[in-house]
Symmetry: none
Subunit: 193 residues, 4 copies
Amino acid sequence: MPYPKEHKAKTRDRILASAARLFTSKGFDNTSIDEVMADAGLTRGGFYAHFSDKGDLYSEAIVYAASNSPMATGMPAGKKDGTWLDKVLTGYLSTEHVNAENSCPLAFLVTDVAVRNPKIRKTYTKTYRMMNKVIADHTKGLSTRKEETIMALTAMMIGGVAVGRALDDPDTTDKLMNSCRVIAKELLKLSAP
Amino acid sequence: MPYPKEHKAKTRDRILASAARLFTSKGFDNTSIDEVMADAGLTRGGFYAHFSDKGDLYSEAIVYAASNSPMATGMPAGKKDGTWLDKVLTGYLSTEHVNAENSCPLAFLVTDVAVRNPKIRKTYTKTYRMMNKVIADHTKGLSTRKEETIMALTAMMIGGVAVGRALDDPDTTDKLMNSCRVIAKELLKLSAP
Amino acid sequence: MPYPKEHKAKTRDRILASAARLFTSKGFDNTSIDEVMADAGLTRGGFYAHFSDKGDLYSEAIVYAASNSPMATGMPAGKKDGTWLDKVLTGYLSTEHVNAENSCPLAFLVTDVAVRNPKIRKTYTKTYRMMNKVIADHTKGLSTRKEETIMALTAMMIGGVAVGRALDDPDTTDKLMNSCRVIAKELLKLSAP
Amino acid sequence: MPYPKEHKAKTRDRILASAARLFTSKGFDNTSIDEVMADAGLTRGGFYAHFSDKGDLYSEAIVYAASNSPMATGMPAGKKDGTWLDKVLTGYLSTEHVNAENSCPLAFLVTDVAVRNPKIRKTYTKTYRMMNKVIADHTKGLSTRKEETIMALTAMMIGGVAVGRALDDPDTTDKLMNSCRVIAKELLKLSAP
DNA sequence: ACCAGCGGGACATCCCGTTTGT
DNA sequence: ACAAACGGGATGTCCCGCTGGT
């Protein structure tokens, strides 16, 4: 077994990191395999040893990106109280997140994914469900309409960030983030009288 | 001058209709000028007589699509009461809208727009502002946090529809639409003491 | 008929000029289509509109290069006397020719051609016959063994230049050129008593 | 030490024999290490135990091939008279040699070598000088222009065989071989008063 | 001495945006 | 308004040289 068995995994991870960053910032079609590999310090030659095709890479990159978004990285403590949720909302619905390189693929790729193949949409759906579950697990005190509230909340989060990135006026984006943040928190509190 | 000058305008409109439909359903990169022109019953050759380039068409198509979405078409009555808003929410946050061909470009193109040129983003931003304004104009009884509430609401609407279209499970999409609809209405009512 | 009909021919010629230079200086395998096109100020995309494949380009480049070698370019006058032949020998069997960029493909590609497909070898053979014919046409006074002498002469010319280019010592190459030149002239004279 | 150390040398020789044959018949780029090793009855893995890289093998193969060409193998007797030279010319300038598998690398690789690294060209140059020297040593009676004559002669020999191999018409190759042979012998005689 | 496999790079195909002249 | 075609560029396949561990 030549090459330490982690070698390939490391390379693969490097490719994924580049892919996640490039895909989320430029979209699927505007990111070439060449670019991804060059960004990872490699050439296209070796690409197909790691992924079956560009769509495959996209799928995996979504997973990779999801585990590096504010959602996941703010989670280490895992305390299931309002503190965690508050922190996540503050991080997610922020101008920084909108302009970040490592961002939530659910928001940054939502339109892109809709026109891709089933495998990619499946990955997206799975990631989406995870987001909902994580938030649900950290939400206490929402006795009624809990599921509805959370689904609407994540839609607002994803939509807010996605729209915020599309706008050409930073001030409006700022206002949008603030609004979503305020209402989101209110939503969670309000539903629990 | 064999043809009256409105002939050109009509042709232009036919191109725009095709473009709006194709762009919103397949995205910018996956839609070729060839397709658009063929769909409009023309050949590629004449395209540049109407638009300077593909990006130009995209910009115009966003405007065109926006004026044909449930948001706009549900508006003719223009009655500024809860009835109108209720109807719009019901139409917008519905499975039918998600699967429709003539859909809200704000939701269907949000990710796509974010990676395009300034001109396109400007058009998007303008359209976005119009959506907020129209809803604000039809909203009564929201004395506090009106602007925040509306911005959060449109983010939820756009996000909900965008996510709903990306998911690969119709049931989940259904549930998502319902949730957003319920919470949206609640939001508008709840914010009013 | 869009584009002036010479446009494509001009582009084609530019590609051929680059190809001839690169192929003769680096050989078939060490010259990529990318390089050729870049050298011609184009990209690979358009290559296959001009040539069916790399081998095709090679074939044509041999012809092109042959018409630009000292053999052909020294010929304009076309006077069928010893002067022309003398000039050709002096130009062909020279260090300058060995180091030139636009050189005789018969010498610079001889080994390369031997391992290529039939079409390429056919082109080479044709070019080779032309070289012999041109020299024969300009040779007077060789009553006996004329054909043998000329074939041996061209073999010496081609071999001399080819070997001269492979050697790593300029002085030896110089001596080789001189030797071939002297003996070549002697050969033509000697055979005619 | 399970195997006597000559085992390694034998293996090395087997590799060289295969390499010489394959390189001279297909050129450097069209011969893979895989092929060479397989031809020698080994696997690719062991290659780097014998040679530092492919270029190294090429260098050594040139030397090996030279010592097995008609030039060298016709030499055993070593009689320094016209008989030997006559035999060599007859063997070298023959259709059989052109089609042989173990052929003179000076002729079969001349173009190939010209585009390789200095080390390879050095080996080629050395081999070339040896060829000239051997012929010079066996040549008597050439009082004037001996060096020139021999250099021109070897250029003709190498050129003739190289061209003969590139042509696609066996008859022409035949005629070329005959011509070179006739003139070569004449050259040696003619230069002697 | 072997062997798996990593990473490089070229080729050919496909498809698209755009330009040019009609 | 059309039609032809030019030129750009990305994809995926193939194959090869070399290296790292066994």
